[in-house]
């Protein structure tokens, strides 16, 4: 309770500092105040183009993220189980990890349409953190549990579901969490550069051209809000799936 209060107080403090700075600078073009930002955001919310841009961006973010999860999970499991597969994939992963996002965005624009480029980049950027974590989860699987399964003559598919999947889950969740945060930043950055017909990035670019700094702030604020919201939803899903509701009430029962 006390911590919650402190957290809220911290947010209010920084909003105040922002407000004071805006008042000192006193130029909306350079730094709009929080009040102006919220006001702009609310006025934008009455336009239908706001929601269209939002939906298009969210679609790219979520679909890109999910596709990355599927690929990273499958390849991560294969690499976790086979050292050779991991060695085979490692140059590719290193290249993805060290290449600047902008290079991928430019390449994606060359290779794909403006609409598809942000989605493609998003998939590529979300892949490594999930993949790495899945590999780690598989290789960290308790040898003793696998020995137990061997003695009890458990079928391979059951071993995978019962032992590997169980030990991968927390790693997968951590990887997905990192990737989700990344997806919001990467997808919007790619939209700014690729400039698809609809998207938050396109709106940001338009606002920049029109010197509508308050609008840039409003959109940025919106992205932060959405990113936070999705991470929160994700956290709730993960926690509710961890243990069933009945036993979650109290941790150590005995």
């Amino acid at each position: 309770m006390k911590q919650r209060f402190l957290k809220a107080a911290a947010i209010i403090l920084w909003l105040l500092i922002w407000q004071i700075l805006a008042m000192i600078i006193n130029k909306e073009l350079l730094l709009p105040s929080p009040y102006i930002t919220i006001k702009t955001l609310i006025s934008k919310m009455s336009e239908s183009s706001f929601y269209i841009a939002l939906l298009y961006s969210l679609f790219r973010i979520i679909i890109g993220f999910l596709i990355a999860v599927v690929f990273a999970f499958i390849l991560g499991v294969i690499s976790g189980l086979s050292k050779n597969a991991e060695i085979l994939l490692s140059p590719l992963i290193t290249v993805i990890r060290s290449t600047p996002v902008m290079s991928f965005i430019i390449l994606a624009i060359i290779w794909f349409s403006y609409n598809l480029a942000p989605l493609a980049v998003n998939i590529i950027m979300c892949f490594p953190p999930i993949y790495d974590n899945v590999v780690k989860g598989i290789t960290n699987t308790d040898r003793k549990l696998l020995d137990m399964a061997k003695v009890y003559d458990i079928r391979p598919l059951k071993i995978f579901k019962g032992i590997y999947l169980g030990s991968v889950k927390p790693f997968l969740a951590a990887g997905m969490n990192t990737a989700l945060g990344l997806a919001f930043r990467v997808a919007v950055a790619a939209e700014v550069l690729a400039n698809p017909k609809y998207g938050i990035g396109t709106k940001l670019l338009q606002a920049k051209y029109n010197l509508e700094t308050a609008e840039v702030f409003a959109w940025t604020f919106m992205i932060l809000l959405l990113s936070y919201l999705f991470e929160y939803i994700f956290k709730i899903i993960i926690e509710s799936r961890r243990y069933n509701a009945q036993t979650r009430k109290s941790d150590k029962v005995i």
Binding site: K144, V151, Y152, K158, Y243, I254
Partner: protein
Amino acid sequence: MLRLENLTKSYNDNYIFKDFSMVIEKNRITCLLGKSGSGKTTLLNVLSSITDEFKVKYSDFEKLRYSYIFQEPRLLEWYTVYKNLQFVLDNTHMSKQAIHEKIMDSLKMVEMEKYADYYPYQLSGGMAQRVSIARAFVKDFDVLLMDEPFKGLDPTQKEDITDRFLKMWRENRKTVIYVTHDLDEALYMAYDIHVLGEHPTKILYTSRNAYKMNDTERENERDKIWQILRSQI
């Protein structure tokens, strides 16, 4: 009778077993007694094929079905007690009802039926070990291997769980190979006791039918084994 002949197992040039042979009576509890590092656990891993890097001339142990009670419970933390038992059951040829009854019967034998929906992290060490005993008995097996399964428990828990185990065992009297370094435990549980020692491992002494002995005989046997174990320092 289950025979193992000329087992050889080494790590690099370090021979754990060299032409080691052993006979285990069926439908009895046989204890393998020896100090730490006498190759007891390795022997169980060889018998149960956890490891397959060894040579053997003849073995009756190869095509048997095993249950194994380990030193630590080795439960799946993300499964409930119930699902942990279900995990080792091959459910292809059993009805759901039959599986359910089997699991609940096993849990009842260790008095853990009330905890079927609990997760391992919610149980004490003794309770988790009881679940692992239930898991060993829920499945059909030819030989039950036990590797110091009551090591980490406090004395009262140990006594309770040992008696519970013996009670369960008497219901079907399967072959049990029980590894321990605790002489009193061996004398309390075993029909036959093989004392292991030296390097590479040999059977130094075999005590037959310990369960038939009267108190004086048992006391003498105890002293005898004690002397052998002491000479192994």
